[in-house]
């Protein structure tokens, strides 16, 4: 090993780099398995770029170039240009709204000389940089309500635009940043409230609204009964309890029905209902059903690489993008799936470890952002393929086919690796 090489790789976090390569390689194998048919001419497919796996090889090459470029960039560049990135990202999103191309109902693609590009993926990176920049700036005091609101607004702005593009799945991912904010001091009660909110929404969807109304009323009555002494001391308690009761009741009685009939699209309502098991429309459940058959038929040890009948013969739709996990589940079984998910968990924990060793708040917030985004993608994507979450199209990081997604995650990770290599510096 000569000096210049030693210099080039100095400070790189090998575990993350290794896990990155492993996942990208597994991704390639899975895309290949989803598409390859006996008798295909591999070399010809590669040269003519007429298969997803062949194009993915190209994207891998581009990603490697990007990664090298990032690695050679000064860390200060990212702090300096974070806000610029954000502004650029928002601009791109607005441009898509104006001149974007529609693909399968969503309207989130930009055509650029024959290539399609999805800015919603890229703006995750921008938002992460900008959030890190804001939270690490001297003026920001995250214990203040104002800072929290500004940070939330920074996150929710791109989210709102993406919802307008009909990419609900990608928009949801932006909620991952609340995990980062939690780490940076957002009160835990907000997470608790968010969690209670989810429970409220789920119960509103699952249980009849009149029954829920009686339940809420009963709970409120009990709480008032048991805390009657405190209420006698402090009248405001009663007001609080009553207002929570009123909100919950109003939520199930009016807000949820309103959202379902007026705000959400029909297909979204159906997906949610299917996911909750309220509806058995075979068309709506087709994707999930086929995906579960594919994964379930893998058994403990799997059918073996390239032996899966379900994924190879197109029973599962979108199998090289959103449903790529089916290939792994079918070909490698439960054992393979555990190993595969284990790789992700290792990556996430390593990133959290890296985050915690940073001296600069910027780097820490950024690294937590990377972990949160990957975690959200991972959970929602796999949960969707096994019928735990509604089918919302978001890719499996580093594994799913797609240039935008692969490049975004590559950049996310390599910027983090660059920042980590320079962790002795204080960045703002």
């Amino acid at each position: 090993m000569n000096r210049s090489q030693a210099k080039l790789t100095a400070g790189i976090d090998w575990p993350v780099f290794g896990l990155y390569l492993a996942l990208v390689f597994i991704g390639f194998l899975a895309i290949f398995a989803a598409e390859y048919r006996e008798g295909d001419n591999i070399v010809q497919n590669l040269l003519s770029q007429n298969k997803n796996w062949a194009r993915q090889v190209l994207w891998l090459g581009v990603s490697m170039v990007l990664a090298t470029g990032i690695w050679l960039t000064d860390s200060k560049f990212f702090t300096a240009t974070a806000n610029l990135f954000y502004a650029f990202g928002i601009l791109l999103l607005l441009m898509v709204l104006a001149i974007g191309t529609g693909v399968k109902g969503s309207h989130s693609w930009l055509e650029l000389g024959g290539f399609r590009f999805q800015p919603a993926e890229f703006t995750k990176l921008c938002t992460n940089l900008a959030l890190a920049k804001y939270l690490s700036s001297m003026e920001t005091d995250f214990t203040k309500m104002r800072s929290r609101l500004i940070a939330s607004a920074m996150v929710l702005a791109p989210c709102a635009i993406i919802i307008l593009q009909n990419e609900t799945g990608l928009a949801l991912v932006y909620f991952a940043f609340f995990l980062v904010m939690f780490r940076e001091g957002l009160p835990g009660i907000i997470l608790v409230i968010a969690f209670s909110g989810i429970i409220l929404v789920l119960s509103a969807l699952l249980v009849d609204k009149y029954i829920l109304f009686y339940i809420f009323t009963g709970i409120a009555a009990l709480v008032i009964y048991f805390s009657r002494r405190e209420i006698r001391r402090k009248r405001s308690r009663l007001v609080l309890i009553l207002s929570i009761w009123a909100f919950c009741a109003a939520f199930v009685m009016f807000i949820v029905p309103f959202v379902f009939t007026k705000v959400l699209k029909d297909y979204q309502v159906r997906r949610i209902e299917v996911m909750l098991g309220k509806e058995n429309d075979p068309k709506a459940t087709y994707n999930t059903r086929q995906s579960m058959i594919a994964i379930g038929s893998g058994g403990f040890w799997g059918k073996g690489y390239l032996k899966g009948t379900q994924t190879r013969f197109d029973f599962v739709p979108e199998q090289s993008t959103d449903f790529i996990f089916c290939t792994i589940g079918e070909d490698f079984g439960f054992a393979g799936s555990i190993v595969f998910i284990g790789l992700y968990v290792a990556l996430l924990f390593r990133i959290i470890f890296i985050a915690e060793r940073q001296r600069s708040t910027f780097s820490r917030v950024y690294a937590y952002g990377v972990a949160s985004i990957i975690f959200f993608h991972l959970f929602i994507n796999i949960a969707m393929t096994i019928g735990l979450a509604p089918v919302i199209g978001i890719p499996l990081p580093l594994v799913s086919y797609g240039g935008s997604s692969l490049m975004t995650f590559t950049m996310l990770i390599f910027i983090m690796l660059r920042l980590d290599a320079d962790r002795q510096m204080v960045l703002r």
Binding site: I295, D314, F315
Partner: protein, 654 residues
């Protein structure tokens, strides 16, 4: 700050672990606990495909294929792939309009969906296929030509006994426990003739191939390299006793005539030729226009689908006299030397029934009576047989006489190996009682002695009776199939069995046979003489009546001839019936003689050539029937009679 937030790192790690373990638990349930998914996956991905074997070929006695498989093409469409094609040009080739084009595309989508191929035009006629083949590149990949084997009748003859195949009709399919339970909708099945009788042999064994299929049911390859597959076994070939040259000659000579020809090899019972006129080119019922043609044939006034050789019942007339004679001899009521003093008629039944001869001694014994075809002699023989004291009464005598007829194949189905054979009519006691209300004696139906009256025989039965005479007392069940390639079953066993029916001396037999020889040498069948061959025969001119508009009308006589040759080493027995054509000697004799000569000497002598020409050209069909029949124009459209014509030219040139 970093230190302050340490527990939050733990919370985040716990959230990650919690959510991931939720996924792992779910995966464990799906992949390890629950087993239904692998079954569902198999149901998704496995396809059972039936492989159709090629149908057996039918050869004549000299190994010439008379019914074989020909490749026709179906035009298949995959609607999803139809893009930017010259629809107008395609319509022009297929001779359909745009509306029909759209209708067929819609039907294809309804039937198989957009991504699977379905039939757009089936069994393209040759010229259409040719045009389409040239410009196929313009219509791909939405349209493809797919090979579809169909039955082809090489010489365009043999429609009456070869039969045809068609898709299994719903009525047979509905009977799920019956003979056709193994068939599925769309399978082909022999409907008539040999195709029907030997269906199980001709069709072979279907194979089953297990394929893996994709989400749109498109096959993607074999399952486990074909470990579970069974191979299709091709149908076995049939070898017939048929002589295709006789068949072509016979069918051409029966053009424009109603009637039939049956020729049998008496030594085996193998049918050498069977013609039912008028007939049609069997290729009409195979290929592109089957349904259309079937309707036309079905409705045609000349009933070409009716196989007269086995279904039509004729009064045999004088051709029946050898039978009457044979029974009388076998019963022992007469000897060959028995004579009858016929003076121009038979008067013993209270009415005078004319005989064509009145010179004394024309019925001095069996031989002369046969040679002169004395009506009185044979009516008398019938009466002697029935009133034979040995049986104890006319009723029992009549029953015995009918029993003789039955053993000789009259009044019963012989069991030839094609379906729909008719029984015929014999004057059994039941019928006699019915007609005469129980009051009858040997005089009531005395005409049956000379082949008229309460008698209906099929040409096949007549030819079979000639076999009995030729063999001097035995016959083999008439049949088409002599052997089946590679078949060890006993399906043909019953055709190898010898049936002995008469037990009289050769001398007695010879009195009948010599009488028949005399008919040919100096009697009514002189036209049947073949140089160097001793031919035995008997002509018949059968009176027949029909009920037309409620009135019974006497129609022009049927022209009949029966015979066999050579006399002492018989190789061919023949029966010819030409309906409403007059004397036996006018049509039946020449037709039979040409066929016998061709078969025995493999040539047609120069002096018979003009007769052959005349037979092929003469029309005896009634003008009314002919005017309404579309058969001639139908037979003209077809494509492969050319080979039959070629063969005919070769026969004539020989």
């Amino acid at each position: 700050m970093s230190v302050y937030n340490q527990p939050r790192k733990r919370v985040i790690q716990l959230i990650i672990l919690g959510m991931v373990s939720l996924i792992v638990m779910r995966l464990f349930f799906l992949q390890v606990v629950e087993t239904k998914y692998s079954k569902l996956a198999d149901a998704n991905a496995h396809l059972r495909k039936v492989i159709y074997p090629s149908r057996g070929i039918i050869y004549d006695r000299n190994g010439r294929a008379v019914l074989r498989n020909e490749a026709l093409y179906d035009l298949m469409v995959t609607p999803a792939n139809v893009k930017k094609i010259d629809t107008a040009y395609l319509c022009e080739i297929l001779q359909i309009d745009m509306e029909e084009f759209r209708k067929r595309i819609t039907r294809a989508i309804n039937k198989e969906g957009r991504v699977r191929p379905s039939v757009f035009a089936s069994l393209l006629p040759q010229d259409m296929y040719g045009k389409l083949q040239e410009s196929m590149y313009m219509f791909q990949p939405g349209f493809e030509l797919v090979l579809r084997p169909v039955r082809s009748y090489t010489y365009g003859v043999g429609a009456s006994f070869l039969g045809y195949i068609s898709e299994i009709p719903p009525s047979l399919l509905a009977d799920s426990l019956g003979r056709w339970s193994a068939y599925q909708q769309g399978d082909y099945l022999g409907r008539t003739g040999l195709e029907n009788t030997y269906e199980s042999i001709l069709m072979g064994q279907r194979g089953i191939q297990y394929l893996v299929k994709d989400n749109l049911n498109r096959p993607q390859g074999s399952l486990e390299n074909g470990e579970f597959d069974t191979a299709a076994v091709a149908g076995k070939n049939l070898r017939l006793a048929l002589d295709i040259e006789l068949q072509v000659l016979g069918e051409r000579m029966m053009q424009g005539k109603v009637g039939s020809i049956v020729a049998i090899d008496p030594k085996t019972g193998g049918i050498l030729t069977m013609v039912s006129g008028p007939t049609f080119d069997p290729n009409l019922l195979s290929g592109s226009y089957r349904g259309q043609n079937f309707n036309k044939l079905y409705q045609d006034t000349s009933s070409p689908l009716y196989n007269r050789a086995i279904q039509a019942m004729y009064p045999p007339g004088s051709t029946f006299k050898p039978i009457t004679g044979l029974i009388a001899l076998d019963e022992g009521v007469i000897t060959p030397a028995f004579g009858y003093p016929c003076r121009g008629g038979y008067a013993q039944c209270g009415r005078f029934i004319r005989c064509t001869h009145s010179n004394p001694g024309h019925a001095a014994n069996m031989r002369t009576a046969m040679a002169n075809s004395c009506n009185a002699y044979f009516m008398h023989l019938y009466r002697l047989s029935v009133d034979n004291a040995k049986w104890g009464g006319t009723l029992k005598g009549q029953a015995k006489w009918v029993e003789y007829l039955n053993t000789m194949g009259f009044g019963v189905r012989l069991g030839v190996d094609i379906p729909s054979e008719a029984r015929g009519i014999v004057p059994d006691t039941g019928r006699m009682n019915y007609r005469y209300r129980g009051q009858w004696n040997s005089c009531s139906e005395v005409y049956v002695g000379m082949g008229q009256g309460l008698l209906g025989v099929t040409p096949l039965q007549l030819a079979n009776a000639m076999c009995i005479l030729a063999n001097r007392g035995h016959y083999y069940l008439p049949h088409f199939v002599e052997s089946i390639d590679g078949d060890r079953s006993d399906i043909l066993k019953k055709y190898k069995e010898k049936h002995s029916v008469a037990h009289i001396s050769d001398e007695a037999f010879n009195s009948v046979v010599l009488g028949m020889e005399d008919v040919v040498t100096h009697g009514t069948a002189r036209g049947a003489q073949i140089a160097g061959v001793a031919v035995c025969g008997k002509t018949g001119t059968a009176e027949n009546k029909a009920r037309i508009n409620g009135k019974i009308v006497q129609l022009k006589d049927h022209s009949l001839f029966v015979g066999f040759a050579p006399k002492d080493d018989p190789k061919i027995a023949i029966a010819v019936v030409v309906e409403n054509a007059g004397f036996g000697s006018t049509y039946a004799v020449p037709i039979a003689s040409i066929l016998m000569e061709k078969y025995l000497t493999d040539t047609i002598s120069a002096k018979r050539m003009p007769i052959l020409q005349r037979m092929m050209e003469t029309v005896t069909m009634s003008p009314e029937m002919r005017a309404k029949s579309k058969l001639d124009s139908l037979n003209k459209v077809n494509y492969s009679t050319a080979q039959g014509d070629d063969l005919l030219r070769k026969i004539i040139a020989n």
